[in-house]
């Protein structure tokens, strides 16, 4: 909402300081987001009087105009078609002036003639939107040649840009903002009264002037036919819930023409284009009262009647913007005797628009149900100045006042007369409500006392009627404040107007809760921290992606779908973390990053049969790729074992459990996106927690990646279960007797997993074989083709005594024998 400082001064009758207005409104919740000074940069632009003009010797379209600025005459070249005759007044930019666009006026030769200045149009001075010709001052402007343009046209103003919250429709008009300002300043406020305009009865007889501002002769009709026969228009409301009130007034004998400069300029500073006097006035009423009105060409309203009804499903109408709208039975229409003329509260139709030849203007001022207007506006995608106000709630009881102001203004400016006995059809009156505010409650909520006399003053300032009660006040809330519906809303008003600075700052006593923070939340945090300590960098990806991303990553495509996505790229919720991480890797590869080791810990989504909400467990994904390179040597590429180590280090940041990677025949079903020969199930102390492996070469291709990335996926609930099952780590006594180590090299088939061999060796060694550790894997000349040699170091120890060589030899022999028997291994001694 843009607000004019000058207009606010007119409405409040106060001299206001810009910085003070800005500070007070902002402190009261009407945030001033910007302040723009208008009428700046016009030094050197003055009123000039045309002395004479003659054609340009060479160029047909140009004229040489002699103007005087009151003290000197100069000849300027002008291309405008509307140069007035001698004595006409124009705006002259003198030599040396710099126009708002930065254009400097200097002596210039145009077709061989020197021009000493420039006659300006509205757009050149940025004081309006008319670029069809130069500004010619009308008789209403009393300014002698030489008067600065700013003074002559009263151009100085300041425009506030207000960031209004949706609960304050009253401030969508200058009257409301002025009322608010007066309340904040503790000054009385009186709304503007209609102009005094000659009124005629439909018979043509002149009626006496009335004193009362609101008595335009509006009939107090409660039925649609109330004024039948007087005003030649009939109003019928089929749906009083959606249209509780409809007022109409008729102005006859109007001449359509351009608005005077002051009106054009006011609309200009407030961001609207001037069109014609009647249309400009409806806009001025909208910006002034915050109440949208609609002007129809009465002679185009067929059947001299207005009917407010719901559209039929599929009914069509043409709106002013030239579109054909398909309507539903949830859209409210304003119709004449033949059909729709407006989408109620949203936009007019083209058929009864004000035109150049309009003589009689039918003005509509109504109150429509906010929800109904909003649904229509949403459905049609038509967000207009009108719908914006109706859906926030205009004042139903301002209808007469607004109508009176509108009718008198249109008659005043258009040279017409207001036809008496306009209609006010009000089948469902909306009365102000009375709410009690208890002063004890005010204090209990704000944490500080509030002087009752101040409370009363504040509430009255906001337009409320206030009656003292035992506990506080009975407050009758004006209907221009639909946001105030209960006591707490009044408490906010009290707090707001006095300012939140008046409330002290205190720390509360916080009592410990029984529940505390759930384990999963603490666990995911520790897990994240452990993963980072393990050398992995955290990614945070969008939770939504494209279905094709899921397909490429070979993960579940049973999705939670976004019904109204911004783009296909982000239209389903992720079912796995791989797509996001792989996109991160892809970017990194394109940026020539050499090493990539990321993790992400986030929710993944899968539909649950018969449940409204999907399952969204946490998953930990890790993706590694690239050089293992460290500065002390060009390393090889990161591989499965680096990923496994990262996983181990991560888990060891949480517990002392043992990570194992094993094969099983469900891997193809669970991890089809991984390399069939380079993937494994991940176990932690006997619990399955995830999978780990190189991406399948086809997955790599589909994801448009390079090399051999390794992906790991841990189900966080399973990991938490495993860690929880392990319980608190139990301490072991340290060994008191020395260990003895013996090595054993076992040559086995390539297909055999070293873990299996190690496990067998440890078993064969019995209790005293404390540890079997792989320290070398050899393939080459020394072993048969298709075989590998695994070298283990076995640590023997007895908890009760020092082992002798003899005993160790015996144990080790058993281990060697087991290796031969179990694996047909040739044991290298």
């Amino acid at each position: 909402m843009l607000a004019s400082h000058k207009w606010l001064e007119e409405l409040t009758g106060l001299t206001l300081d810009v910085a003070d207005v800005e500070a007070r409104l902002t402190a009261a919740g009407i945030e001033v987001e910007g302040v723009t000074a208008m009428g700046e940069g016009l030094d050197g632009v003055v009123v000039g009087e045309v002395v004479s003009y003659r054609p340009h010797p060479e160029r047909q379209k140009l004229r040489l105009v002699t103007v005087t600025d009151g003290s000197a005459e100069q000849e300027v070249v002008c291309g405008a078609p509307n140069v007035p005759e001698a004595g006409g007044r124009v705006l002259l930019a003198k030599l040396g002036a710099v126009l708002p666009g930065g254009f400097e006026i200097a002596e210039r030769k145009l077709g061989g003639v020197v021009s000493r200045g420039m006659l300006c149009s509205e757009t050149e001075l940025q004081i309006g939107s008319d670029e069809s010709g130069i500004v010619v001052l009308g008789d209403d402007i009393d300014a002698a040649p030489g008067t600065p343009a700013v003074a002559a046209l009263d151009l100085h103003d300041t425009v506030y840009e207000l960031g209004l919250t949706p609960n304050r429709p009253d401030c969508l008009g200058h009257v409301g903002i002025a009322r608010e300002l007066c309340a904040l300043l503790g000054k009385p406020f009186t709304p503007p009264v209609p102009l005094s305009i000659p009124r005629v009865a439909p018979s043509g007889e002149l009626l006496p002037q009335t004193e009362s501002a609101f008595d335009l002769g509006l009939g107090s009709a409660s039925s649609a036919h109330g004024a039948d026969g007087l005003l030649p228009v009939r109003v019928e409301i089929d749906d009083p819930d959606r249209c509780p009130r409809y007022g109409a007034a008729l102005v006859a004998g109007v001449t359509i023409g351009p608005s005077p400069f002051w009106l054009r300029y006011r609309l200009h500073v407030l961001g609207l284009r001037a069109i014609s006097n009647v249309v400009d006035l409806t806009n001025l009423i909208l910006l002034g009262w915050g109440h949208p009105i609609h002007a129809f060409d009465y002679d185009k309203v067929r059947g001299s009647m207005i009917r407010v009804r719901l559209a039929a499903d599929g009914e069509a109408m043409h709106t002013l913007d030239g579109e054909e709208r398909k309507l539903t039975a949830d859209d409210l229409l304003i119709c004449d005797g033949d059909g729709p003329v407006a989408l109620a509260g949203v936009m007019g139709g083209g058929n009864s628009e004000i035109g150049d030849d309009t003589e009689r203007v039918l003005i509509e001022c109504a109150y429509f149900d906010p929800r109904s207007v909003r649904r229509t506006s949403k459905r049609t995608g038509l967000h207009t100045d009108s719908s914006h106000r109706f859906e926030r709630g205009v004042d139903p009881n301002a209808v007469r006042q607004v109508l009176a102001n509108a009718a008198s203004a249109i008659a005043g400016l258009g040279g017409g007369t207001v036809v008496a006995d306009a209609l006010d059809v009000n089948p469902k009156p909306i009365a102000p409500e009375t709410i009690e505010v208890r002063m004890a409650r005010v204090e209990a909520l704000l944490g500080t006392g509030y002087e009752p006399s101040l409370a009363e003053r504040v509430l009255r300032g906001l337009g409320c009627d206030v009656q003292a009660t035992k506990a506080g006040f009975g407050v009758t809330v004006p209907t221009h404040r639909p946001d105030i519906g209960r006591e707490v809303d009044l408490i906010e008003e009290l707090a707001r107007v006095r300012g939140y600075d008046a409330i002290p700052t205190e720390l509360p006593q916080i009592r410990p809760s029984e529940q505390g923070t759930p384990e999963l939340i603490r666990f995911t945090r520790r897990l994240r921290e452990a993963a980072a300590r393990a050398g992995l960098t955290e990614s945070v990806n969008y939770a939504f992606l494209a279905t094709s991303d899921l397909k490429a990553a070979g993960v579940s495509e049973r999705t939670v779908r976004i019904v109204n996505p911004l783009s296909e790229e982000r239209s389903v919720m992720r079912t796995a973390l791989l797509p996001g991480l792989s996109q991160n890797l892809q970017c990194a590869q394109r940026q020539q990053v050499k090493t990539f080791a990321h993790f992400e810990l986030a929710r993944v989504f899968s539909p649950r049969a018969g449940e409204q909400l999907p399952d969204e467990p946490h998953e930990l994904g890790l993706l590694l790729w690239g050089d293992r390179a460290e500065w002390y040597g060009e390393g090889d590429e990161l591989d499965f074992y680096d990923a496994k180590a990262a996983l181990e280090r991560t888990v060891h940041g949480l517990c002392g459990g043992r990570i194992e990677t094993r094969l099983d025949d469900r891997l193809q079903a669970d991890a089809p996106q991984l390399h069939p020969k380079r993937r494994a199930r991940v176990w932690l102390d006997g619990h399955e927690i995830g999978v780990l492996g190189e991406l399948h070469p086809e997955t790599v291709e589909r994801l448009d990646l390079l090399g051999r990335p390794i992906y790991g996926l841990i189900a966080v609930p399973a990991l938490l279960e495993a860690v929880r099952a392990g319980g608190a780590t139990q301490a072991h006594e340290l060994p008191r007797f020395p260990a003895v180590t013996r090595d054993i090299a076992v040559e086995v088939d390539e297909a055999l997993q070293a873990g299996e061999v190690a496990e067998a060796l440890r078993e064969a060694g019995g209790e005293r074989a404390e540890q079997v550790k792989l320290f070398d894997v050899y393939r080459g000349d020394q072993v048969a083709a298709g075989h590998k040699s695994l070298a283990f170091r076995v640590t023997y120890r007895d908890r009760q005594e020092t082992l002798t060589d003899k005993v160790v030899d015996k144990l080790h022999a058993r281990v060697q024998k087991a290796a031969e028997q179990r694996f047909g291994a040739s044991v290298r001694r």
């Binding site: 707490v488 707090a495 707001r496 600075d501 939504f544 911004l566 919720m573 409204q612 909400l613 460290e630």
Partner: protein
């Protein structure tokens, strides 16, 4: 040569040569080699002493003593020289060229938590220290919990402030617009209040979603939400908790101001501005100035807050006459960007290792 002569000569030569030999040895290895030439297993003196039995009995004692004496002399000289060499080596190292300390450290690079996570943790920690519990809730949420229970009026423009993604689960029948991506973490407020009874002090942080995608809005963003309900909680407490929080994060001298604002689920509602931490105008004391972040105002809007609306209490079965409480929410993205000077939002969700590894 007869054995007596051999002993005489051997002892004499030994006595005359070992000093020179030791002195000539310039390092430990040479010294040990020289030592071995005399007293090693096949050293000259060792060999000689093995012949002791061949000596006539009356000379054995004399030569025995002389041999041992020489051996001791050599041992003493050896150790003295060894110590000397060690001292010289240490001296040389201590006065020699410096280790190249500029070489990079060796080992695995460490990983990093995402700056959003780091910030989230830091923010949560302040509340946890004050006594708040941490809670969590689903990201796909019911309309009821995201809007209705919070008192959003149906078909009200307040929902425009939160343009919503609606979702449908494959194979699950659901009313249109009944399920959505939560637009704020206030859903956790509803869920916690439904599940628990006061006193409550809870804070929650996580992903939220709005249909917005431009230079300053990301369709997914991180929000932090907190609320407290008990007997006698006031707006003054709200001011206390939030002022304390912001000053813990941004510094004790940070100016904080509260302005009225509107959110359907709080009343009175407010917004909190803090001094701009980029231009720090409050420290410089001058009036206006250029600042990209606060546009010269010196203030940054940082939090939305208010007293929990009685309608919310009614929806969760609390007695609004008895319990009062406050709630607040803030953008973790925004605080992250302010703290770390992140120039644009795209960097936060781009996950470029070159960006993330800066933190």
């Amino acid at each position: 040569m007869d054995v007596v002569a051999a002993f005489e000569e051997g002892l004499e030569r030994g006595a005359s040569e070992y000093r020179t030999a030791f002195e000539e040895a310039e390092d430990e290895q040479a010294l040990r080699a020289a030592n071995a030439r005399f007293v090693g297993p096949s050293g000259a003196l060792t060999r000689l002493m093995k012949r002791m039995r061949e000596l006539p009995g009356e000379r054995r004692k004399e030569f025995g003593q002389r041999s041992n004496q020489l051996k001791q002399e050599i041992a003493a000289a050896f150790h003295a020289r060894l110590d000397g060499l060690a001292a010289a080596a240490r001296e040389a190292e201590l006065s020699g060229p410096h280790l190249d300390v500029s070489l990079p450290g060796r080992g695995r690079p460490v990983g990093r938590l995402h700056p959003l996570t780091q910030t989230k943790h830091d923010l949560l920690d302040v509340f946890v220290e004050m006594g708040f519990d941490v809670a969590d809730g689903p990201e796909v949420e019911k309309h009821e919990y995201n809007f209705d229970k919070l008192g959003f009026p149906p078909d009200h423009p307040a929902t425009d402030m939160q343009d919503t993604f609606f979702v449908a689960s494959e194979g699950v029948e659901s009313e249109a617009r009944a399920v959505l991506l939560r637009t704020h973490t206030s859903t956790v407020q509803v869920r916690e209040m439904l599940a628990r009874k006061p006193p409550l002090a809870v804070v929650s942080a996580g992903a939220t979603f709005r249909r917005d995608d431009d230079a300053t809005h990301s369709p997914m963003f991180m929000q932090l939400e907190g609320f407290m309900v008990d007997d006698g909680i006031t707006f003054a407490h709200l001011k206390g908790v939030l002022t304390h929080f912001l000053q813990r994060i941004f510094g004790r001298d940070l100016p904080v101001r509260f302005r009225p604002s509107y959110f359907p689920f709080v009343e009175p509602g407010g917004e909190v501005d803090m001094g701009c931490t980029i231009c720090r105008r409050w420290q410089r004391g001058d009036a206006a100035g250029e600042c990209r972040v606060c546009k010269g105002t010196g203030w940054i809007e940082i939090l939305g807050c208010g007293m929990i609306h009685p309608v919310v209490f009614e929806h969760v079965g609390y007695d609004p006459e008895r319990h009062t409480g406050f709630a607040f929410g803030l953008g973790v993205d925004r605080i992250t960007m302010l703290r770390h000077g992140v120039p644009h939002l795209g960097l936060l969700y781009g996950n470029d290792p070159r960006f993330l590894n800066q933190f």
